[in-house]
Each structure stands twice: as C-alpha cells, then as structure tokens.
C-alpha cells in the first residue's frame, strides 16, 4: 500500500499508509487523518481518495491551495514520488517497492477516456462538504418540488401528482376523474420529466386547455398555469 511521508524542512515528521477504499483527510483540525498544525493550513485543507486502482488528491478549496510538484491543483491523480505541498509542509506520496501502481498512461488522467465510478461514500462526503445531501429515496426527487393540482372549479382542495404518469379523464381508473360531455376517458396525462412537468392531450373531442389554449400534443407546465378539462378548472402549483 502506498504511503504518505509528512516532511517539514527536510525532517520527516509523520508517516501515513493509504489503503484501497479509504479516504485520508488533511488539515489543521484534529478531526483530520493527517493533522498539520500550521496557520497556513486550512481546517479541512485537502483529501486523498482511493478511486479505482488509483489515488486522487482533491483540494478542499483551501485558503492557500494545494500544490503537486510546485503546480497548484484542484484535483490530481497521484503518481509515485509526487510531492504535495500544503502550507510549508510536504507530503510525499510513494508506492511500496514492487507494488503494483497504475501506469501513468493508463491512469485515468483526463477522465474522459475512462468510465469510472466514484465510490458512493466519497461522493457523499464531497456533497456533504458543501452542506447538501444527495437524495436517498428510489424514485424521488427528495428536495425537488412536487407538482400539485389545486381545484379552482369543479372540485375542492388539491391533488398531489404522485405518479410519474398521472391520468386525468372520465375513466374510473383515472388518477383524477373529471366530467364533461366531450371529455375523453383519459383526456390528459401529466408526466414528471427530468426538466419538469408536462401535460399531454390523449383522447376525446374536447381537448384540455392550459391558460386558455387547447393542447394538441404536449406542453411544459409552469407554476400557476391554469388547466381546463371539461368542467374542471385546476391550477398547477409546486410544493416542496
């Protein structure tokens, strides 16, 4: 397993071992794996993650930056004998003798050439770093607003669009049942797409209307749009 040797003015002041699947944090605060007590070092300064068969150094937007072999870096795939400068301290990254290491050519530098998966644990940490949590539930869009249909006429209260494909029509199997002579069994559907909600006309002589204009195929819904289907009048609202 590769090691990190912490040096200050040519004196070795610490040695750390990196392991596949483990992350190492570097900073001034005690909670870090590698603690460097120096005011030039940020509380959480940088970290090293094991990604695939390589090791990735990421500067955690530290005040004074991280440098590898004198170049400032945001992130950098570590190679044998790389010198990481943090404040006035140097960390030397080195593989053990005879240890298998990713060849520089095959290292995923450039990223584009290699399809790789970021370890979920690392990703979560990265996201937590900026104070937000990635959504957890399977289908859903935790954190994302949910569409709600609020009755303006022909009913009372509101209905949450709780289906990916929400059906509105005369049919008893509709998610929202509406009446009206020329309204279709399924008059319209509302689908949740990656870029928002859309309403589509499905069948029936009377087409659904959004803000007064008949929908022939599909329209994206904006908040507060007014939808008319038969004798029912609805307003589309987003709720978090």
């Amino acid at each position: 397993m590769p090691t990190l040797t912490l040096k200050f003015k040519d004196n070795v002041v610490g040695e750390y071992t990196l392991a596949p699947g483990k992350s190492v944090t570097i900073g001034r605060m005690e909670a870090n794996d590698v603690v460097i007590e120096n005011l030039a070092v940020s509380g959480h300064h940088a970290k090293i993650d094991s990604v695939g068969n390589g090791y990735l150094l990421t500067d955690l937007q530290s005040k004074n930056g991280s440098f590898v072999n004198s170049d400032p870096v945001n992130s950098h795939w570590l190679q044998h004998d790389d010198e990481i400068l943090i404040g006035k301290h140097v960390l030397v990254f080195a593989y053990a003798e005879g240890e298998e290491q990713p060849a520089p050519a095959s290292a995923p530098a450039g990223g584009l050439d290699q399809t790789m998966v970021m370890d979920t644990g690392q990703y979560r940490k990265m996201v937590e770093k900026i104070g937000k949590k990635p959504s957890d539930s399977t289908q859903d869009m935790a954190g994302e607003p949910t569409g709600v249909l609020s009755y303006l006429g022909g009913g009372e209260g509101e209905v949450v669009i709780d289906k990916k494909l929400f059906k509105i029509g005369k049919s008893a199997s509709s998610d929202m049942i509406v009446s009206g002579l020329l309204v279709g069994q399924t008059s319209a559907t509302i689908s949740k797409r990656p870029n928002g909600y859309s309403l589509s006309y499905v069948e029936g002589i009377a087409k659904p209307k959004v803000n007064g204009s008949a929908v022939r195929e599909s329209v994206m819904l904006k908040e507060f749009d007014v939808i008319d289907i038969g004798s029912t009048k609805l307003q589309f609202v987003l709720k978090s």
Partner: protein
C-alpha cells in the same frame, strides 16, 4: 400498436482496442437499450452484455406471460410497465454485482444502462449512468435520462461548486450497474406522438456531439442513416471511446382520437338500443 422504424449501431471508435458497449433493439418487445461497460480485460464487455441480456430476458418473460402477478416491491408511482422495466434493471444489477464479487477477473466491473420501453401511448425511459436518452418532438430535443456523473449532480445542487471541480473528477459516474448490491435508476414515462424520435447513445457520442447536432442529423434521415452519420460524426472528431447509437422513429401510434372513437361508441349504443327494443 405503435409502428416504429428503428436502427442501432455500435462501433469500437478510433482509440480503443475493444468495444465494451452493448445494444439491444427489438420492435416486437418495444424495447431499446444501450449499455456502456467498464472494467479491464474484457470485463466491461461482459458487464454491458449481461445487463442488456438480463433486461431483455425479463421483459420477454413478461410479454409471454402477461398475467404475471404484480411484484410486491412495485412502486405505486409508476405504471405496470414501468415497474416491469425497473424490476428488470434491479435484476440485472444484482447479476453483474454477484459475478463481479465472485470472480477475480471481473472484480470492479460495471456498466451504464439506458433503456426505452414503449407502451401503447407512452415511452418509459430508465437509466443508470451517463448514457443519454433523447426525445425529439416537434423539432426540439429533450433529455429524458438523468446524467449520473459528478459534474451534473453537483451542478443541480450548487453550480458554483460544480465549476470548481477538476476535469478528472467531473465525469466520474455517481451510479452504475453492478457496483453495489442495489441500484437507483431514474425513470420517467411520457406520451409519444407520431414522428417523435428517440435517440439512445453511449457517451462516446454525447461527449463529441451536442444535442442540437444530434437533432439536425436525426431529423433529416431514416433511422439507419442517422445512426451511421452519428457514428461517423463521433469518429471524425477523434472517436476517443466506443460509440453506440440507437435511433427509433414513431411512424404511427394506436391512438384513436375523438371522432372515430365517438362514432364507434354511438354505433355501439344504437346497436344496444336496437337489440333491446326490437
């Protein structure tokens, strides 16, 4: 029945020695897929192929045995067909994961998957990873898949932080098939109309061609020619990765709108009336 004109091509590209992409096109099932495998020593090929075959086998089974009971894990927010597709993806994930765990040669392998599954009036688009599924409707192109890589997910939370990411981290996948025991696909179901076109590709194309360029090529050509042109476009720009493209054009939908339907209903009522009183 939806009438579809479909085509799919996969190409090794200009830089790689092997092709780790897999594709599947079947108008009878109404199922179309692209999977982009990863992992050295042919493991990527194994992963993407296994994903595509498992999903295909599961959906075929459903079609043969349509009375199949609903799975207990069915998600009530999704239609029956969407639940089937989701179940097939979960099954494929487990398969790849198990083989990756139990065989040293395949350790760490994985794959993306992007699938489009047609029902009578809708398309269900589900994906894991960064292979895009585009829907072209009325000369506009829209991404139906959700890109599971670091830069896209970060941009959704905090665009400033996404800008600061290093080039080498941006394109790491945040989800993939076979990497963990369970997986979280993104899925959506949208109505489709006559002349709509769906394009599913691997990032070998989407890294090198913008959605607008894809729209231009697809609008002018038959599905087969469009596939060919898009592959040529990616290879002409370096072809740094395997390139796979599936194009399907909706030629007709079953939708019987307004008048015809009303007419049949009126006719049925008249017959009913006649039978009853005469």
């Amino acid at each position: 029945m939806i009438v579809v004109e479909s085509a799919g091509i996969t190409d090794v590209g200009r830089k790689r020695k092997s092709n780790e992409d897999s594709l599947f096109v079947d108008d009878d099932l109404g199922l179309y897929m692209v999977a982009d495998g990863m992992g050295g020593h042919r493991a990527g090929e194994v992963a993407s192929e296994l994903v595509v075959e498992t999903i295909q086998a599961y959906i075929t089974q459903i079609h043969r045995n349509s009375s199949r009971a609903e799975s207990e894990t069915a998600d009530s927010a999704l239609s029956k067909e969407a639940n089937h597709l989701l179940a097939s993806i979960h099954l494929a994930n487990k398969g790849v994961h198990q083989i990756a765990q139990s065989n040293d040669a395949y350790r760490g392998m994985g794959s993306t998957v992007s699938a489009a599954y047609l029902t009578d009036q809708t398309v269900i688009a589900a994906n894991v990873g960064d292979s895009p599924i585009y829907l072209i409707h009325d000369s506009t192109i829209e991404l139906l898949s959700v890109t599971h890589n670091v830069v896209t997910e970060q941009a959704a939370i905090d665009p400033d932080a996404a800008d600061k990411l290093g080039e080498d981290v941006k394109f790491l996948l945040t989800r993939a098939m076979g990497v963990e025991e369970s997986v979280r696909p993104d899925i959506c179901e949208v109505p489709i109309f006559r002349d709509d076109v769906l394009v599913i590709s691997s990032d070998g194309l989407s890294d090198l061609a913008s959605p607008e360029e894809i729209l231009d090529v697809v609008e002018e050509q038959s599905s087969a020619t469009a596939c060919q042109k898009l592959i040529e476009m990616a290879n002409g720009r370096g072809g740094h990765d395997n390139v796979t493209v599936v194009v399907l054009r909706i030629k007709d939908t079953k939708k019987r709108g307004g008048i015809t339907k009303l007419r049949t209903r009126v006719a049925r009522r008249i017959i009913h009336f006649l039978e009853k009183y005469i």
